[in-house]
């Protein structure tokens, strides 16, 4: 297949009309917040990443800056630049903000203690002074089965890499999920006291592939960018005039004490590549179509397709609402 027709098939993704999307989303937000949900404004958890910064700016455009409250909730493991970039996003949109230190809440829940207990069983000599993260090998690096690996770094810089047993992996993720759930509790506290709704910040990759914590960052009253691929969110950020530092930040989980990109923890392929593959999966395009515009081999694209399908199966539980008995 030649590159030209394949590129045409991706026009909606690659030639995204951000100005038009901006109008559509702001109009939708006005209707949804005021009329459907009958709320006076929105609360947005702002992390200093491009997604939450775009949602905050969209809220300000749609409802007026005075009807948007940003909740900034850094904790002990947050990256040093998180708070600074979050404040930058707040200033760029002219919205109000509250800063909530999440560390004491997480301490009380035993988030850090539980993590340290698990890691110290796996890494000899590990103490709470060490830093750690979980990584998943890239999809495109080979055909091996990809297992979650723990990376721990001592204060002196010694790095230990260890394959994670399933129980330890689950327990670590469960402990870290306190962070997203505690944040959401604070967002709803502020939403309740102000009569606001909570705006969620997932993009389409995160929403579709299940990169969120159920009843944590997956919880919201409205999700204004969950239909947009990551490259489209960046285009919106351009149109909204968000600061370069925010647009240039590498997407991170900002959850583990060692710096960790979303790619190495979850998506396992560059986000632009995943955009193309997910778009193709959504539109029934083939591996050859993606290969023609991405530089990947069709075989590699098939492996990304298989991973997309597997993540969708896993995400079904995350998306499921509470199930009710249906009387016969």
């Amino acid at each position: 297949m030649s590159g030209e027709p394949a590129a045409g098939a991706f026009a909606e993704l690659l030639e995204f009309d951000a100005e038009r999307a901006l109008e559509e989303i702001t109009s939708w937000l006005r209707r949804t917040i005021a009329h459907t949900l009958r709320r006076k404004g929105v609360v947005v958890g702002v992390s200093g990443g491009v997604d939450s910064s775009v949602v905050a700016a969209l809220g300000a455009r749609a409802l007026g800056a005075e009807h948007v409250l940003a909740v900034l909730s850094p904790e002990a493991d947050s990256a040093p630049e998180t708070l600074e970039l979050s404040r930058l996003a707040v200033a760029a949109s002219g919205i109000r903000a509250v800063e909530e230190d999440l560390t004491p809440v997480l301490d009380a829940l035993g988030c850090y203690r539980r993590r340290d207990e698990i890691v110290s069983e796996i890494v000899p000599g590990y103490t709470s002074e060490w830093k750690m993260k979980i990584v998943l090998p890239p999809i495109l690096a080979g055909t091996r089965l990809r297992l979650f690996t723990l990376v721990a770094r001592s204060p002196s810089g010694e790095e230990v890499t260890q394959r994670l047993p399933a129980d330890a992996y689950r327990a670590l993720v469960a402990a870290m999920n306190f962070k997203q759930r505690a944040r959401k509790t604070l967002e709803y506290y502020h939403a309740d006291r102000l009569g606001y709704a909570v705006a969620g910040t997932p993009n389409r990759l995160e929403y579709d592939q299940g990169f969120f914590v159920k009843n944590g960052d997956g919880s919201a009253d409205a999700k204004p960018i969950a239909h947009l691929y990551k490259t489209q969110v960046y285009r919106l950020a351009d149109v909204l005039g968000l600061p370069e530092q925010i647009r240039a930040r590498v997407p991170t989980t900002d959850t583990y004490s060692l710096s960790q990109t979303q790619e190495e923890f979850y998506f396992s392929v560059p986000l632009r590549t995943l955009d193309l593959c997910l778009f193709a999966r959504d539109r029934g395009l083939g591996a050859g179509d993606v290969a023609a515009v991405s530089g990947l081999s069709a075989e590699d694209v098939e492996r990304v397709f298989a991973d997309i399908d597997a993540k969708r199966r896993a995400a079904a539980y995350l998306h499921a609402p509470p199930l009710l008995v249906e009387p016969a």
Partner: protein
């Protein structure tokens, strides 16, 4: 298939029935079914399967053996165990 294979297959089927959402029906897994493609195991499930094989048969699975042709079906796991375990 010899007796040893039958015993190992029964052990594996029991593991799948207890740990993965098959409704407890271990026969639902075909011998050659791709466990990943059929959605029987996910990325965490692979961790569980490797851990089960290592614990049950007292072996260490090195990174270079982490291949679908060794672990993506019951038949593949049986062949892998046959290679790794003494007669």
């Amino acid at each position: 298939m010899n007796d040893q294979d039958s015993t190992r297959e029964a052990t594996l089927r029991s593991f799948f029935a207890e740990n993965f959402p098959l409704g407890g029906d271990a026969s639902a897994v075909g011998r050659d079914d791709s466990l990943l493609e059929a959605g029987i195991i996910d990325s965490t499930g692979v961790l569980e399967l490797i851990g089960f094989v290592e614990t049950t048969y007292d072996i260490v699975v090195p990174d270079e053996d982490l291949l679908p042709e060794n672990f993506d079906s019951i038949a593949n796991v049986l062949r892998y165990l046959e290679r790794r375990l003494p007669e």
